[in-house]
């Protein structure tokens, strides 16, 4: 249950960050804080933080890419030497996911260490 709450919470934080135009590392701070609060194991913190951010960044980038008929994404795909603009969407999702996931991992690790190895 905590894992579901964590997923929803990180999702909300990612959406707020997006809406507020926050810097990219805000994801890591948000995920770290939430995973410090929610009693989940490190692996769950990593996975769910990753998943939430990747979903939000990926969905938003995918929406923009689709709605603009890939005009910018496809051009940047050439710049970055990747096959299509959708790869830029995937890279965006991965970047958000890794940032949030590593933040979550750190938050959970810190909490578990402070609690002597317990959740």
């Amino acid at each position: 249950m905590y894992r579901l709450f964590l997923l929803i919470s990180v999702l909300l934080v990612c959406v707020v960050c997006l809406y507020a135009g926050a810097s990219w590392y805000a994801l890591a701070i948000g995920a770290a804080a939430l995973c410090f609060l929610f009693p989940v194991w490190r692996r769950s913190a990593l996975y769910f933080s990753f998943l939430a951010a990747a979903m939000v960044w990926g969905a938003y980038a995918g929406y923009l890419h689709f709605m603009t008929e890939g005009r910018l994404g496809d051009r940047l795909a050439v710049t970055f030497n990747v096959p299509t603009g959708w790869v830029m969407v995937v890279i965006t999702a991965l970047w958000g996911g890794i940032t949030s996931g590593l933040g979550g991992l750190f938050g959970a690790s810190l909490r578990i260490a402070l609690r002597g190895g317990k959740k």
Partner: protein, 806 residues
């Protein structure tokens, strides 16, 4: 052990954050990837149309922020303002919204300030720009305008205020994607930056010179041979202002006592790296013409104008309608300067082509010591004036750069073939109120408001550089063309070779007065035209020197002479005509030299291909490719005495054609590397044909579009931001000029009348944002030869977005 996991995760997180924050990771040209991929601030924010498609109201703290901008379905702004200053403010605002990065990087390039944003690799280029005096020239310009033309300065200032008003509202998330890729930020605008932009334009159009090449070639060949191979005038030219059309010009040479050319100074050894610092592109050129009402199907004049420049995305031109009391104009202007450079209003239409006069001269300076603190002038020591500028380095730090200035101009180089020479260039000058009524920018503002020929003449009196063939047509029936600019007053051959800089009298002695400049007004032939050819007929009394095209102009004049009546459709067809007069004149000479008796099937196939060619550089033409390869190689072989890296000048194409036709046994055809054998024109022609036949090995040449491989690159050469292959016709010798990154940067046809109508084609779009559909929405139309109507809204007509400034 219990802290191992948090420690490792902290390290991982830190490493990741560091990875995402560093620029130029692993030495690659990469931005800070974390921010770049962040959809809230990075490149994804640039996907889409943004404010252009919105209804917005602005309350800005400026007395000029009054008016409206409405965007039509092509994304073109229609600016409606209460007065001139407000119109300039709104134009500045719209320019900044669409083209801020382009304006920023272009002026940085001219200013010599790229190192600050692009790093050390740009330092040498920046230093060259600073040493050439671009910053000093722009400062002089602004000072002169502010002090002597305060009403003109208001225009510059209002335009700058509009740009800065936009920047004041700008959030980093809204920066152009190029800023995000390169990791820099927009800088505030000022009249100084507009002056820089215009100096940059001058540099491309009037900043070329061949003084050292001419001097070296003449010294190598001897004066007689030099004069034979490099005559200054093409005898069969069709000048912009023929002798028959020239009006009221008398020589003023009597005003110039004791002015004779100084002997040519031998240049130093050629250094290919320094060779031509402003590379003169032989494709540089444009077309414009207008037909009188007697030759028009409407009973009113029709005007056509297509300037050929380097093509980039975003386009050099910014299309707009600008309306304020006394002005309702549509056309194109430069992003970074107020006004429309080409266009039409309710009464007139105007357009320009480059004049091509050489207005950059070099003078050898004799320093009195190694510190260059003084030089000899008229037998006396004269103190050098040092101008100090600051070169900002990337990541902080700066260097002070000193440039020595003489009475002639700056001395840009301490090494290379132009070392210790002063550069005298027309664009260094910003003449004051005593010699002109207004400034260059006001020329265009006045043209936007002109009603008749008198207004057009008045507008042109303030124009300095780069000299242009100003074309004019009015609904009252007048047509005219005036090659105009502050042309230096010269003696024969002056400006062609390097000159001694140790005497004052070698400096420029004045300008050709406005009333003595060439003009053609309602000529009997019923049309006026220009295509960068020789300015005047041989009887024009003032000497000038330069680089001139001798094919497009002759062809356009021939077509116009043969057409008793023109209409707007035929005008467009002529703009899109890929016929090459050069090919028409050279191909028969090549074919006639081939020994048909010994040709095999492949040879006969190639000969048939080119014999049946109509001299059209169509995109799918294979004959055009064959001709290009054949003629280019033959040209190179003919002038093997003057390889590209020798620093010697090659004769003009028309001269080569004349040699091939009239003097096929001239020693110039003899190959230096075969001393025992005497080659002739026919032998070389046959030899190149056989080489091509062997290389093609039974295949036909590729199509002209494939061979030409023309595309429009991004201004910053960012991969992916340019255009696809241009598959349609065109070449450098046909009216439809298309090259790789070069061509018609704007096509316009205007039908004058009670309610003038115009049509245009722009290779690009209004927006500089690659994520916008208005970035390249004009490309397909332009490439395929289409036009759109240049509507002028009296009231907003279903705009896709509107900005109201209150």
């Amino acid at each position: 052990m219990r802290w191992t996991a948090p420690l490792i995760s902290a390290l991982l997180l830190t490493a990741w954050l560091l990875l995402g924050s560093l620029t130029a990771l692993f030495g690659l040209p990469l931005p800070a990837l974390g921010q770049f991929f962040n959809p809230a601030q990075g490149f994804w924010q640039n996907a889409g149309e943004g404010a252009r498609v919105q209804q917005l109201s602005f309350h800005l703290d400026s007395p000029h922020a009054r008016g409206e901008i409405h965007f039509d379905e092509r994304g073109i702004p229609h600016i409606i303002a209460a007065d001139l200053a407000s119109a300039c403010f709104l134009q500045g605002y719209a320019n900044a919204y669409d083209r801020m990065w382009q304006m920023d990087i272009s002026t940085r390039a001219t200013e010599g300030a790229l190192t600050q944003v692009l790093g050390e690799s740009m330092k040498e280029r920046d230093l060259e720009q600073i040493h050439k005096g671009f910053r000093e020239m722009a400062r002089r310009t602004v000072d002169t305008i502010r002090e002597q033309f305060p009403e003109d300065y208001e225009v510059y200032q209002a335009y700058s205020d509009g740009i800065n008003a936009y920047l004041d509202q700008l959030d980093p998330a809204d920066y152009a994607v190029e800023y995000k890729l390169l990791g820099h930020a927009p800088q505030r605008w000022s009249p100084y930056r507009t002056a820089l932009l215009l100096k940059g334009m001058s540099s491309g159009l009037s900043g070329f010179y061949r003084d050292a090449e001419n001097t070296r070639t003449r010294n190598a060949l001897g004066p007689e041979r030099f004069d034979a191979l490099y005559p200054e005038r093409f005898p069969n030219d069709s000048p912009v202002v023929p002798d028959a059309g020239q009006q009221g010009v008398t020589s003023r040479f009597s005003l110039l006592p004791e002015l004779f050319s100084a002997p040519a100074v031998p240049p130093r050894e050629a250094d290919p790296r320094q060779y031509v610092p402003f590379p003169f592109d032989p494709d540089n050129g444009s077309n414009n013409w207008a037909v009188a009402k007697s030759r028009s199907n409407t009973g009113f004049p029709i005007l056509a104008s297509d300037p050929h420049l380097s093509l980039t995305f975003p386009s050099v031109w910014y299309e707009a309608q600008i309306t304020f009391p006394g002005c309702n104009a549509r056309g194109v202007g430069l992003a970074g300067a107020p006004g429309l450079m080409m266009g039409f209003n309710d009464y007139i239409a105007w357009g320009e082509t480059n004049v091509g006069h050489d207005v950059t001269d070099w003078y050898r300076i004799t320093w009195t010591d190694s510190t260059r603190s003084a030089y000899l002038l008229d037998g006396k020591e004269t103190a050098t004036r040092f101008v100090y500028d600051t070169l900002q380095l990337k990541g902080g730090g700066e260097e002070v750069v000193a440039t020595p200035w003489t009475i002639f101009g700056p001395v840009p180089y301490a090494q290379g073939e132009y070392a210790d020479m002063a550069m005298r260039w027309r664009a260094q000058d910003e003449p004051g109120r005593d010699v002109r009524p207004h400034t260059t920018v006001l020329t265009f503002i006045k043209l936007m408001q002109a009603k008749n020929y008198a207004d057009y003449v008045d507008a042109l009196q303030g124009y300095v550089d780069p000299a242009q063939n100003f074309l004019f047509a009015a609904r009252d029936g007048d047509i005219a063309i005036r090659p105009n600019g502050f042309f230096p007053l010269r003696q024969p051959e002056e400006g062609r070779f390097i000159r001694e800089g140790d005497r004052t009298k070698n400096n420029w002695q004045g300008v050709i007065p406005f009333a003595e400049r060439p003009v053609q007004y309602n000529p009997a032939r019923g049309f006026v035209s220009s295509a960068n050819q020789q300015t005047t007929g041989p009887k024009y009394p003032y000497y000038y020197v330069g680089g001139f095209d001798e094919y497009r102009g002759r062809y356009i004049n021939r077509v116009l002479e043969r057409q008793p009546t023109m209409n707007q459709r035929r005008m467009k067809e002529l703009q899109l005509d890929a016929h090459s007069l050069f090919a028409e004149e050279v191909t028969p000479l090549l074919i006639a030299r081939i020994d048909r008796q010994h040709l095999d099937d492949n040879g006969r196939q190639l000969l048939r291909l080119i014999s049946e060619w109509d001299y059209q550089y169509a995109g799918d033409s294979r004959a055009a490719t064959l001709f290009e390869s054949w003629s280019r190689r033959l040209f190179e072989l003919t002038f093997d005495e003057m390889p590209v890296d020798s620093g010697m000048l090659r004769p003009e194409q028309w001269k080569w054609t004349a040699l091939l036709r009239d003097a096929p046994t001239d020693p110039i055809f003899d190959i230096v590397a075969t001393p025992g054998f005497r080659e002739t024109g026919p032998i070389l022609t046959q030899r190149v044909f056989e080489e091509l036949q062997e290389e093609l090995n039974g295949e036909l040449p590729v199509t002209w579009a494939e061979e030409r491989d023309a595309r429009i690159p991004h201004l910053g050469r960012i991969p992916g931001f340019g255009s696809p292959l241009i598959t349609t016709g065109g070449s450098r010798t046909s009216p439809r000029v298309v090259g790789n990154g070069f061509g018609a940067s704007w096509r316009m046809v205007v039908e004058l009348g009670k309610d003038p109508r115009g049509w245009g084609a722009l290779p690009g779009g209004a927006s500089g944002n690659p994520g916008s559909r208005f970035y390249d929405n004009g490309f397909e139309e332009w490439a395929s030869g289409g036009y759109h109507e240049l509507t002028r809204w009296k009231m907003p007509d279903h705009p896709i977005g509107s900005w109201i400034f209150e």
